[in-house]
């Protein structure tokens, strides 16, 4: 289905990543957001608060992130597409409700504009240190999808993608921005509504008598009903059977938790998005994402000018990790260079997927700034030897 034109601000804009993310959410059909102010993410909901009463929807500023992250899910079960926006400390508080969304299969989007941590850390400065938290932060076994934009344009485009994936898989999608991408102002082109593809909610077509809220039909993703439609269904964060009823047996637990994981991992290749260049002749591949990918680009260009055979693999999907791509490359390249604004998080995944067939150079940075291209270049040179 095509986007509702009321939410689409078609045209060329000069806006920052936070504002572009908001426009992406509106274009995707988000008509409900609950938030709590936190730097450097607040501009997303500030814009939403200004825009949404003119397109038909609701924003509420809640008393904390615990509230925001579950209020949005109430909005989803009432029929809205909904999201919240935060940064590190708020993301930590939202973890329980990321687990609730995973367990109850509530389609929704969590935007994390990453800043330096741990704790209050560097409120106004960038980091990419929530990448593992995005994947593993809530307790128990589950799977999520996480996307990493590297420009305001992508903040728009990929926010739409994030909503679409959340609806297709009925899963919370983590939208992993960083402070630089959030506050960077660039040209953003918003296409006409009829050129924006929207995935509608997977609403049940079953009768009230036949409907079971967690019964799947082949594809591992159950159909949903909304409150107020007469289905009188039950939703719980407890382990539940296909009727949605609590069931405390190891068999039900096994079936449910494996399905929650498998519905994402089995579709990993389809979900995986990356940008690649010069991979055919590459000895060394720089694997990066978010703002770091733009610094890495400079290092790659310089290295190639110097005759080094360096390839680029930019992760757009961070989770599920595109390990098949890494595995294929590991068989024919010498090494991966992984610069990131943390002490080596996604580098662990690269190393795992490479499984010893290529070396992994983790180029760490604790955040508060970005890498210098020459530092990345130095490691590329080392890895090429």
């Amino acid at each position: 289905m095509k986007a509702d034109p009321r939410g689409v601000l078609t045209g060329e804009h000069f806006i920052d990543g936070d504002h572009a993310c908001c426009e992406g959410a509106l274009a995707a059909g988000a008509r409900f957001a609950a938030g709590y102010p936190i730097t450097p993410s607040t501009e997303v909901v500030e814009r939403f608060a200004a825009r949404v009463p003119t397109v038909g929807g609701t924003f509420i500023q809640m008393e904390d992130e615990l509230a925001a992250s579950i209020t949005l899910q109430g909005g989803v079960w009432a029929g809205a597409k909904a999201f919240t926006v935060t940064s590190g400390p708020g993301f930590s508080l939202m973890m329980e409700h990321i687990g609730y969304a995973a367990m109850t299969e509530t389609p929704c989007v969590f935007v994390d504009v990453q800043r330096g941590g741990p704790s209050t850390g560097l409120p106004t400065l960038p980091a990419q240190a929530d990448m593992m938290q995005a994947r593993w932060g809530s307790h128990g076994d589950y799977a999520v999808i996480a996307l990493c934009p590297n420009s305001p344009q992508e903040c728009f485009d990929l926010t739409i993608k994030a909503f679409n994936l959340s609806e297709e898989f009925r899963v919370p999608v983590m939208f992993m921005m960083d402070e630089v991408v959030g506050h960077m102002t660039e040209k953003v082109v918003i296409p006409p509504a009829d050129q924006i593809e929207i995935v509608p909610r997977k609403h049940t077509k079953e009768s009230v008598e036949e409907f079971q809220p967690y019964k799947t039909n082949g594809d591992l993703v159950p159909e949903i009903a909304h409150a107020g439609e007469g289905y009188r269904f039950h939703v719980t964060g407890l382990t539940h059977d296909e009727r949605g009823y609590p069931n405390m047996t190891p068999q039900t637990q096994d079936k449910l938790v494996r399905r929650l994981q498998n519905k994402i991992t089995s579709a990993a290749d389809r979900i995986a998005m990356f940008e690649e260049a010069h991979l055919k002749d590459a000895d060394v591949v720089v694997v990066s994402y978010g703002i770091t990918s733009r610094v890495a680009q400079r290092a790659i260009d310089t290295a190639r000018e110097q005759g080094l055979r360096v390839g680029k693999l930019r992760l757009i999907t961070a989770w599920p990790f595109p390990e098949k791509k890494i595995r294929q490359l590991a068989g024919r390249v010498k090494a991966f260079v992984v610069p990131e604004l943390n002490l080596g998080q996604m580098a662990l995944e690269v190393e795992r997927a490479a499984a010893g067939r290529a070396k992994t150079f983790s180029l760490t940075h604790a955040g508060g700034g970005v890498h210098r291209p020459e530092d990345i270049l130095k490691v590329i040179v080392e890895a090429s030897r």
Partner: protein
């Protein structure tokens, strides 16, 4: 609206089912997920009694069940959501009110009930309780107060009264407890009542009254936990507790909520304490947008449902 509940009690016809003798069913059965029985509550627990009152209030108020959603948090009372045959959400600990807020704001046509316990609503969820009352979100909150954390084994709650023994205060509690009607009135609730599980007719009537109110309504139900509170404090069994509720409850409609705090074995002031008018959140929001945006304002419901 009658304030003389004891007179009403005598005229109550809730039990007149007009069914032939050979076809007797419990009139609350259609409101329950009977395929989930037996429930998990202990013998003598008061929560089932409150659910019965809730169902009877639904019968009497003739409320449209399709428009009704019930949200619970975690704990013994949190299990209510699983037993009622309604759109029902068993959420996370303390967060029933914000979840319910999302339901209500995204679909204002829904009647949203929050049904949870004292620990869930006033300790871990205390921040949400006062802010929802402040905003006057149109929610009906039923708080079953058993004075204890029951599901986890009888730990001290913010409501545990003076010197009661609990598993985490084995030598007696010493921290002051919340007076919940006083708290929610101060925060802005438009309807505040308290009954005990002895006052089944009055409780059903209060729930019905709350359905007539637009705004944040709060009904506290004092309820026994014979397993963990009464027994540990040598207060007898559930029958003894009913006798206590009967003997020591005093109906004081309109009582100042500052004077209705609970003690371990003293008087229990019950009644309807607050019934006032105040614009609810969505009315205020709409008025503000219309005032500021004029023709540019678009009603939320026009674009909200996405299926």
């Amino acid at each position: 609206m009658s304030t003389d509940l004891n007179t009403d009690l005598l005229n109550n016809d809730l039990l007149n089912t007009d069914l032939p003798d050979d076809d007797l069913v419990n009139p609350v059965e259609p409101f329950l997920r009977t395929d989930r029985m037996p429930h998990i509550w202990c013998p003598g627990c008061g929560i089932g009694t409150t659910v019965n009152c809730f169902a009877r209030a639904l019968i009497e108020s003739k409320i449209d069940l399709q428009s009704l959603a019930l949200v619970s948090g975690i704990g013994c009372t949190g299990r209510v959501a699983g037993y009622v045959a309604l759109d029902s959400f068993h959420t996370t600990h303390g967060r029933a009110i914000p979840f319910a807020t999302g339901l209500k704001l995204a679909n204002p046509k829904l009647n949203v009930v929050v049904y949870s316990g004292d620990g869930d609503l006033s300790a871990i969820g205390g921040n949400h309780l006062i802010h929802a009352a402040r905003r006057n979100i149109d929610l009906k909150v039923i708080c079953v107060n058993n004075l204890i954390y029951a599901m986890t084994g009888g730990q001290t709650a913010p409501t545990t009264p003076d010197h009661a023994t609990t598993s985490t205060n084995p030598y007696g509690t010493f921290e002051p407890s919340f007076n919940l009607p006083h708290l929610v009135e101060a925060a802005g609730a438009v309807y505040v009542a308290r009954w005990t599980t002895f006052h089944v007719r009055q409780l059903a009537r209060a729930i019905g009254e709350a359905f007539q109110k637009k705004g944040f309504s709060f009904i506290e139900v004092i309820s026994p936990c014979p397993t963990l509170y009464q027994r540990r404090n040598k207060l007898g069994d559930s029958l003894d507790t009913m006798k206590y509720y009967k003997a020591k409850s005093k109906v004081k409609n309109g009582a100042p909520t500052s004077e209705v705090g609970l003690t371990i074995s003293g008087e229990i002031i019950v009644g309807k304490f607050v019934d006032r008018e105040r614009p609810d959140y969505q009315s205020m929001m709409r008025a503000q947008y219309v005032d500021s945006l004029g023709d540019r304002f678009v009603e939320p419901m026009e674009a909200e449902v996405c299926s």
